[in-house]
């Protein structure tokens, strides 16, 4: 799941890419920036203006001499707050709009990777990535682009104002600002090298916390709880040490800004004093200079924060962009073939499949032929390749060698959506979403009528249970179906598949979690049902009793067919008194006890 390709992307390239994906609402951003600059200038004007007022008034020139400036000062005093308010609100709105785009983008990146491409992801890690990294991106506007733009523009204008009063003081203020604007951000990111390590530690901490919470039963039963907590604490200590170093450099950066401000105030005052004595400047302007300097520095601390956040944003952006470099396992053909209507024949010939070049073949010369309306069982030990065959049939993972076709059309010339419309899957780990039973069942066909839903609930042998629930089909199943039993979860997944009305039904271990009797009953019901409807069934199972009603049973071993049993032979499998399968074949135990 790791990739190196975007690690080499430069920071500007990452930001460009993020801006492209986030499609920033430029007009809103420009408006926010304008309001920000006006707000900053209002501060400079308010301070410098009131300095002028008191200085001038000290010479007691009469009210008329100061009335104009005084009025302007009062206006600025009123305007400053609303200008800032507008800037922040408009800026946040812009950021949130992009945030929604980034989130959906992330979903779109992950979607084509499921299921096989997402193996190896830790849910805690994905969660951390999604919530933290994407949330970090909003700072690109709020804490990076906007403050930098506003500060540079406002500082330039403030310098110009001071330069008009006394050019040399303007130069001194400019020098102090340049030092503050360049050194302070550099100091803030001085510990930036630790940032990668910090992100890694944060990921680890998340995984460890999830471990403690999810594996709590095992940790307690084996008395390892204290150890697991100690691990979390060790990671936490390392993170704290990094945070301490960072606080040190952030503090240094803030100190530099204050020191530069002190330098600017002292310098312009000293220069002003000299200018007053040299008669280069009227004494009434003396107080204006230091006050304007204070105003010019007001937004400078935001630059150091901007530098820090820019680092974070780029790191988070890089991690997110990494996702684009994970190869999507299956891509739809440019000009897809059309699938003939009706129940198609499934044919697989000499198929080989593996998930990575350094992993063993999961399918290794597999053959399969399912005639329209046939009911085929697929048995074999764990790791024999049953689930990989299901992955290949549903176009979740491509075959590296050999061929597979649906209704005579090569599988890889078909659109994934068409294949999955034709083959309904009840997966081994079929997911039950937080929501109601109805929402979960109608996922198979959102426009299904009440009657159709009731029909499939009955066929999946859920109707009686649902009838006992106070809220019926509207009962909430909880996260991952936590409020219902494993057997009910499987039946819901089955009902969902039945509702699609697809001509081929692939069932991957549909009876796990059910007792033998009800499992066999459920399968028998489904197969009989399919027979009357003329649909095909591929049943992956490890239980001999489930195989009773099938036309053919294929025993898989090491990714290929070991044996195939036809008709009556297969039918005899459910008879517990017969050792049905050839030795070692795996559908039943070799010697009855």
């Amino acid at each position: 799941m790791t990739s190196k390709t975007t690690g080499s992307l430069t920071a500007p390239a990452v930001i460009r890419e993020l801006l492209r994906i986030g499609a920033p609402p430029w007009r809103r951003l420009a408006l926010a920036a304008l309001l920000g600059v006006l707000g900053a200038l209002a501060t400079v004007g308010l301070l410098a203006g009131s300095g002028y007022v008191v200085d001038r008034a000290a010479f007691r020139p009469g009210l008329g001499a100061i009335a104009g400036v005084l009025a302007a000062v009062e206006v600025l005093a009123f305007l400053r707050g609303p200008l800032r308010y507008g800037e922040r609100l408009v800026g946040h709105d812009a950021a949130f709009r992009s945030l929604a785009r980034w989130r959906v983008w992330l979903y779109d990146r992950l979607e084509p990777l499921a299921p096989a491409g997402l193996l190896g992801w830790r849910s805690g890690d994905v969660l951390a990535r999604v919530t933290d990294d994407v949330d970090t991106l909003q700072d690109l506007y709020l804490r990076c682009l906007l403050p930098v733009g506003v500060t540079v523009a406002a500082a330039t204008l403030a310098v110009a104002l001071v330069a008009v009063v006394l050019p040399v003081a303007g130069a001194a203020l400019a020098a102090a600002l340049v030092v503050a604007l360049s050194v302070a951000p550099a100091a803030a990111v001085a510990t930036g090298t630790a940032r990668g390590r910090e992100a890694e530690l944060r990921g680890r901490l998340g995984a460890e916390v999830v471990d403690v919470l999810r594996a709590a039963p095992e940790l307690l039963a084996f008395g390892r709880d204290a150890e697991a907590l100690a691990k979390v604490e060790a990671t936490d200590r390392e993170l704290t040490a990094i945070a301490r170093r960072r606080a040190w450099s952030t503090g240094a950066s803030g100190a530099i800004v204050t020191a530069c401000l002190g330098g600017a105030v002292t310098a312009v005052l000293a220069l002003g004093v000299g200018a007053v004595h040299a008669h280069h400047m009227a004494p009434v302007m003396l107080a204006v200079l230091p006050l304007a300097a204070v105003g010019a520095f007001e937004t400078v601390p935001a630059i150091a924060t901007a530098a820090l956040r820019a680092n974070d944003v780029v790191a988070a952006g890089r991690r997110l962009l990494d996702l684009t470099s994970i190869r999507v396992p299956v891509i739809d053909p440019e000009e897809p073939a059309t699938l003939p209507a009706g129940c198609p024949r499934i044919a697989v010939h000499d198929a080989r499949l593996r998930y990575a070049p350094d992993l063993p073949w999961a399918l290794d010369g597999m053959d399969l032929d399912v005639a329209p309306g046939a009911h085929v069982g697929l048995v074999g030990a764990s790791g024999a390749g049953k689930s990989s065959l299901v992955h290949a049939l549903l176009r979740f993972w491509p075959l590296q060698e050999g061929s597979a076709s649906l209704g005579g059309v090569p599988l890889d010339t078909l659109r994934q959506a068409d294949v999955r419309r034709t083959i309904a899957l009840v997966d081994q780990d079929a997911h039950v979403f937080a929501g109601s039973i109805r929402q979960n069942v109608t996922l198979g066909r959102p426009k299904a009528t009440e009657g159709e839903v009731d029909g499939v609930l009955a066929r999946a042998q859920l109707a009686d249970w649902v009838a006992t629930l106070p809220d019926g089909v509207n009962t909430q199943v909880g996260e991952e179906g936590a409020q219902i039993s494993g057997g009910q979860r499987r039946r819901i997944a089955l009902a969902r598949a039945l509702l699609t009305g697809a001509p081929v039904l692939v069932l991957d271990e549909p009876t796990a979690g059910l007792d033998q009797e009800s499992g066999a009953q459920l399968v028998a019901g489904i197969v009989d049902d399919a027979r009357t409807r003329g649909t095909s069934v591929v049943l992956v199972t490890h239980r001999a009793r489930d195989l009773g009603h099938l036309d053919r049973v294929i025993v898989m071993e090491n990714g290929r067919v070991a044996h195939a049993l036809d008709g009556p032979e297969a039918a005899g499998l459910h008879d517990p008194t017969r050792p049905a399968l050839p030795d070692g074949a795996g559908a039943d135990r070799p010697t009855p006890v």
């Binding site: 779109d108 979607e111 499921a114 969660l127 307690l220 084996f222 709880d225 503090g251 999955r420 009797e517």
Partner: protein, 607 residues
């Protein structure tokens, strides 16, 4: 305690409740406030020096040389302020880190103490969010907001007293405006805090929803409903944007109010000072100094307001964490109720034994006496009047349909489920009364849904016994028939398996859990549906290889099909049938009595 009282307690000041739990905070907090006050003093010093320079030069024509010492003092005041700010930053970080770490530790420990049953009902994703993001957000709250809030209460008073001594009209103006601040803060702050809490909840549910969609991606794709998940994500995000913006409108309004008051303050003070200067009622020195200091009256308040908003997420997280910490663990019952700890003679324990230990032959390994278990919020008890006894070396199966209480029974012996009535013993220890350390090491357990920790296969085996030798691990892997699989992995035993064990099949996970039990090498073995994901062939092979290992141990297996255990001495059937409305228990019977239980053994054996 009544519900409202609980709510009132929960709604109490978070910092007080936090301070009660995290003792180290007070010292750091005082440091931060001290630094802040010193910083304010340096600001006042700057104002005085600057005003005096301006006044001397403008009114008395002082030369640069004459004011140089004061200019040097001015620069020094700035340097002092710079250094104080640096120290303040460090103090803030320490405070935040201390609280974050302590609280996270307490949260996880408490969650473990509350036990698997409680955790099962919680959303693990949501709680882990609170334990990572949530506690991190607390850093801001504790490190920045709290010291700033204290400072906001102290610094303006100090500055106002000084202004009052210099110029009383300015003092009155500033006092009036400052008096308005708490009104604005309380009004907007409360509103904002409530909304931010709402936002935190939505964020939690957003991440839960996002995770749900990600986990369900294979299913969504299988049904061609990728677009549905995409819409769910987009809608949740847009909903978050709207709530966040409405929160911000209020949160920024409080900032607006503060900024507005500060602006007006400077404007009004400038006007009054200007007019009084015209009338000659005040000196230029006083005017400049007061003018310079007047924004500083509002600055600590504005900062506190900004930090309040930035830390609101932390407060919401703190609320969530404290509400978990407030859930009381069921206390170990006192022994003064007169019940004796053990019904049997004291167990024969391996003294000092960690994992493993042994029992004397013929001792009762597990026993439950008339146990009923009712879970809160469930109409029917999970177990009714359940009694069972497993002696050392005896193999007993609990059979019954789903929901008949098999896992609950296993949970009783692990101490995860507490009997509502009745008593449960492990090797003579009452699991409710005795410390878990006394008896848990005697148990090896294979859970129905094993969780694999993020780490290697070896790490996962070693949680059963950290000191197990390499040979023991290899033998355990062999015993459960995973040798071939493990050898096929890129790094063998050192191969990483994810949280949830995503790269292993359900069957392999289950066998790894069995191997873990083998490594545990304990005298009592609890098996909860150990073969639910195994094919018959693997199961048969397992039965043959595990047989000798199980032989001398006390075994309790809960299963639809207890075939894994080759030699079953007794079978106890829970529930009275598939549609039993009252889960209960029929007494176990000896094989050969011709009972239903015997039939079960026969049926199990014949399949």
């Amino acid at each position: 305690m009544s519900t409202t009282a609980v709510q009132r307690r929960r709604g109490g000041l978070i910092d007080r409740r936090l301070a009660a739990r995290v003792s180290a905070t007070r010292r750091y907090l005082l440091t931060a406030v001290g630094v802040g006050l010193a910083s304010t003093a340096s600001v006042v010093a700057q104002a005085i020096l600057l005003a005096s320079v301006v006044s001397s030069v403008v009114l008395h024509g002082a030369t640069l040389g004459a004011v140089t010492p004061r200019l040097a003092g001015l620069a020094a005041a700035f340097v002092a302020r710079a250094l104080l700010g640096w120290a303040g930053e460090a103090a803030a970080q320490r405070t935040g880190a201390a609280v974050t770490s302590t609280l996270r530790r307490q949260l996880l420990r408490h969650a473990l103490d509350l036990g698997p049953v409680w955790l099962g009902g919680e959303r693990a994703g949501e709680l882990s969010l609170a334990a990572t993001r949530g506690t991190s957000a607390l850093t801001t709250y504790f490190g920045r907001y709290l010291p700033q809030a204290v400072l906001a209460a102290l610094a303006p008073i100090g500055i106002l007293i000084w202004v009052g001594a210099e110029d009383w009209p300015s003092f009155l103006i500033l006092l009036g405006l400052v008096a308005l601040v708490p009104v604005a803060m309380v009004y907007f702050g409360r509103e904002s805090a409530a909304r931010t809490r709402l936002q935190w909840r939505r964020l939690s549910s957003l991440s839960a929803r996002f995770l749900d969609m990600l986990r369900g991606l294979p299913t969504l794709r299988a049904f061609g409903r990728e677009a549905h998940g995409r819409r769910e994500v987009a809608e949740a995000t847009d909903g978050l944007r709207q709530t966040t913006l409405s929160t911000l409108r209020v949160a920024f309004a409080s900032a607006l109010a503060l900024e507005f008051l500060a602006g007006i303050g400077t404007g009004l003070v400038a006007m009054v000072l200007g007019l009084r200067l015209l009338g000659g009622h005040v000196s230029l020195y006083t005017a400049v100094a007061v003018l310079l200091v007047s924004p500083e009256v509002f600055l600590p308040l504005r900062r506190a307001g900004a930090e309040f908003h930035a830390s609101a997420e932390g407060q919401a997280a703190a609320d969530r964490i404290l509400s978990v910490l407030d859930v009381e663990t069921e206390p170990h019952e006192g022994r003064e109720d007169g019940r004796t700890e053990s019904v049997e003679a004291p167990p024969n324990l391996d003294p000092g034994g960690r994992a493993g230990g042994s029992l004397a032959r013929g001792r009762v390994a597990l026993s439950a006496h008339r146990v009923t278990v009712s879970f809160p919020g469930r109409a029917t008890p999970a177990l009714i009047d359940f009694s069972v006894e497993v002696r050392d070396g005896e193999h007993l199966a609990l059979v019954g349909p789903s929901g008949s209480g098999k896992s609950t029974a296993i949970g009783l012996f692990l101490g995860f489920v507490r009997p509502t009535t009745g008593r449960v013993f492990v090797a003579g220890h009452d699991v409710v009364l005795a410390e878990a350390a006394l008896w848990r090491h005697l148990l090896a357990w294979v859970p129905q849904r094993p969780h694999l920790l993020h780490g290697s296969i070896e790490d996962n085996l070693r949680i059963a016994d950290p000191d197990a030798s390499e040979a023991r691990l290899t033998r355990a892997i062999e015993l459960v028939g995973l040798s071939h699989t493990v050898q096929g992995l890129p790094k063998g035993l050192a191969t990483m398996v994810g949280e949830g064990g995503v790269s292993l099949s359900a069957g392999e996970r289950q066998r790894l859990a069995l191997a873990r039990a083998v490594v545990r090498d304990a005298p009592i073995v609890l098996l909860d549906e150990p073969v639910a994901h195994l094919d018959a062939h693997t199961e048969a092979a397992l039965r043959d290889t595990l047989g000798p290992w199980l032989e001398s141990r006390a075994v309790l297996v809960a299963a639809h099909r207890p075939e894994l255990v080759a030699r079953l001495d007794r079978v106890v059937r829970l529930g009275t049938g598939p549609d039993a409305s009252k889960p209960g228990c029929e007494p176990g019977s000896e094989p050969g009595e011709g009972s239903e239980a015997e039939e079960d053994v026969a049926e199990a054996a014949s399949q």
